[in-house]
């Protein structure tokens, strides 16, 4: 009986609602390049590429209640792999080689870092993330013979897929594909046994250990999942700008993902998506209207969001407003509902 009530949430009608909405949004994103200017397309592309690293932050936050400031390590790692292979020592700009390669690199690095970082919690975890990021940053910055130091690596060739040079439009669709793919993947992971056990670890570490959950190993793997997301984004970001510099490794860059995740709302699965678009959009509008004031606006916005709605974020506000407008519309997107 319990099992049945549990699977009730997957009743066809509700499942279809979500599926239809997802397909609709994806189609919209796919059609948008035909209607907007090149610049707006690039902007959307940037939002799309921001979604995976924000999902990493969201993943760590919603399952472990930790703030993950170290995403920029993996963005940087992916980007510099591209910079070396498709730029400085031009060997290949084949996406089918570069994506798996940087994924592998990120997984290995994330696993090793996870051994140290994931043993800490709370503020110590956050600072440890920043510290490790800064160590990476300063190494990349200082090894100027190899990495080009602060000048970075600028002559990155355009990406190819199966040997075919991608047009800018084509590249947009690759970004869309990977971003949507990762979102679907994250959805699956968040509903998987893995996530459920992570949530158990968050709830009670000792009990989790005593019912046989390999606590540390699983936390490390969560870090790997978050890092892999960011790594793939890093590859595409490098191609988007044809330039990679040490700022990809800067902790301030990683902190932006945290801000975006908070703005989006960490209680909802769509939070990271909303957050990416809200953050980039807000930045665009503010820097157009008051170029000198974006720090104040972004800072105050994030602070106010945290104070007023906490973890609900923009999604929560929108949900409340929409819920009032369309009474009865079921917008609930929590990963684990209370099942009533």
């Amino acid at each position: 009986m319990g099992a049945n009530t549990r699977t009730d949430r997957m009743l066809p009608s509700q499942f279809d609602d979500k599926l239809i909405a997802a397909i609709g949004l994806t189609l919209l994103a796919a059609l948008i390049p035909f209607f907007v200017s090149e610049y707006v397309r690039t902007l959307i592309q940037r939002c799309l590429l921001w979604i995976p690293p924000i999902f990493g932050v969201y993943f760590i936050y919603s399952l472990l209640r930790q703030v993950h400031f170290a995403q920029s390590i993996f963005i940087g790692l992916g980007s510099y792999i591209v910079a070396f292979l498709a730029g400085k020592y031009f060997l290949t700009s084949e996406l089918l080689i570069l994506l798996p390669l940087s994924l592998l690199a990120c997984v290995v690095v994330a696993y090793v870092l996870g051994i140290f970082i994931m043993r800490r919690t709370g503020f110590y975890f956050a600072i440890m993330g920043i510290a490790v990021t800064m160590v990476f940053w300063s190494l990349v910055y200082k090894m100027r013979q190899i990495t080009g130091g602060s000048d970075g690596i600028s002559d990155i060739k355009n990406p190819t897929l199966l040997g075919i040079q991608l047009s800018e439009q084509g590249f947009y669709y690759i970004c869309l594909l990977i971003s949507v793919g990762l979102i679907v993947l994250m959805y699956r992971i968040l509903h998987s046994p893995f996530s459920m056990q992570l949530k158990a670890i968050r709830g009670d570490l000792q009990k989790a250990e005593s019912i046989g959950i390999p606590v540390h190993q699983m936390r490390r793997l969560a870090f790997v999942v978050a890092g892999a997301n960011a790594g793939l984004s890093g590859v595409l970001l490098a191609f988007l700008y044809n330039y990679v510099g040490p700022t990809s490794f800067a902790w301030e860059f990683g902190a932006q993902f945290v801000q975006a995740a908070i703005i989006g709302g960490v209680n909802y699965f769509v939070g990271p998506i909303v957050g990416a678009f809200a953050f980039v959009g807000l930045e665009f509008l503010v820097s157009t209207w008051f170029p000198n004031l974006w720090e104040i606006v972004i800072g105050v916005t994030v602070a106010l969001v945290v104070v007023t709605v906490g973890e609900e974020g923009v999604t929560g506000i929108a949900k409340n407003l929409l819920g009032r407008v369309f009474k009865g519309a079921n917008l609930k997107e929590r990963t684990y509902s209370d099942g009533k």
Binding site: G2, A3, H191, S192, I211
Partner: protein, 255 residues
Amino acid sequence: MGNNQGPVLLAVESLRKFFGEVRAANDISLEIAQGQVLTLVGANGAGKSTFLNMLIGLVRPDRGEIRLEGKRITGLPPEQRAKMGIVKTFQLEHVFDDMTVFDNVRTACLSVAGKHYVMFKDVSTEREINERTQHILELFDLARVCQTLVRNLGHGYKKVIDIAMSFAMKPKILLVDEPTSGVGEEEKYRIMELMMNQIRANNLAAIIVEHDLNLVKDIAKETIVMHEGEFIARGAPEEVFSQDKVVEVLVGRGF
């Protein structure tokens, strides 16, 4: 009670743990056979919880050895010991507050099935796991509340859920730390009955820490009295509780 006492399941040899001056465990040795149920009594601070925590690996002993079915498990982490069949429930209830009752038990079922790293399969569609979860919930009379968040449940329920999760682990030996502490008189007996039924039905070995001496007399043939990290008496409850030093230890503390 008809236990068919089998071969030795858990063997503890001269286990020692000192916290500075405090002796939590001073050269304890113990053997438990399959199906043997022991109760452990002692005043607060006698070292009962530390002893159990050492058995499951949450506390690291200063010296000594623990063997499960002849295999040395002293240095193993808790999760591996749990897999090998030595599981503990906690004195202060340890449950996953922001999950439903169903998910709590399901987590244990997933864990015992070894599905830690399954990332691409929906939890709600794992049929075997769900059926087993459902079965355990029914055994412990939890099916009514299975979709309630544990946070919203009472103390007694949480105790039962904790025990149910331990059973879901398919243990060989169950360590129960004060299953009835802080629970009302009526519920106390209900919980104890639920638990003992399952222990007997599965012919498990168990160590049960309990304060209520009347309960102790009911549930086990054999009891151990612990004082300042040492076992000072062992035997049938009636017999043990009539010993002078035991009375002194237990009553002296206002028992």
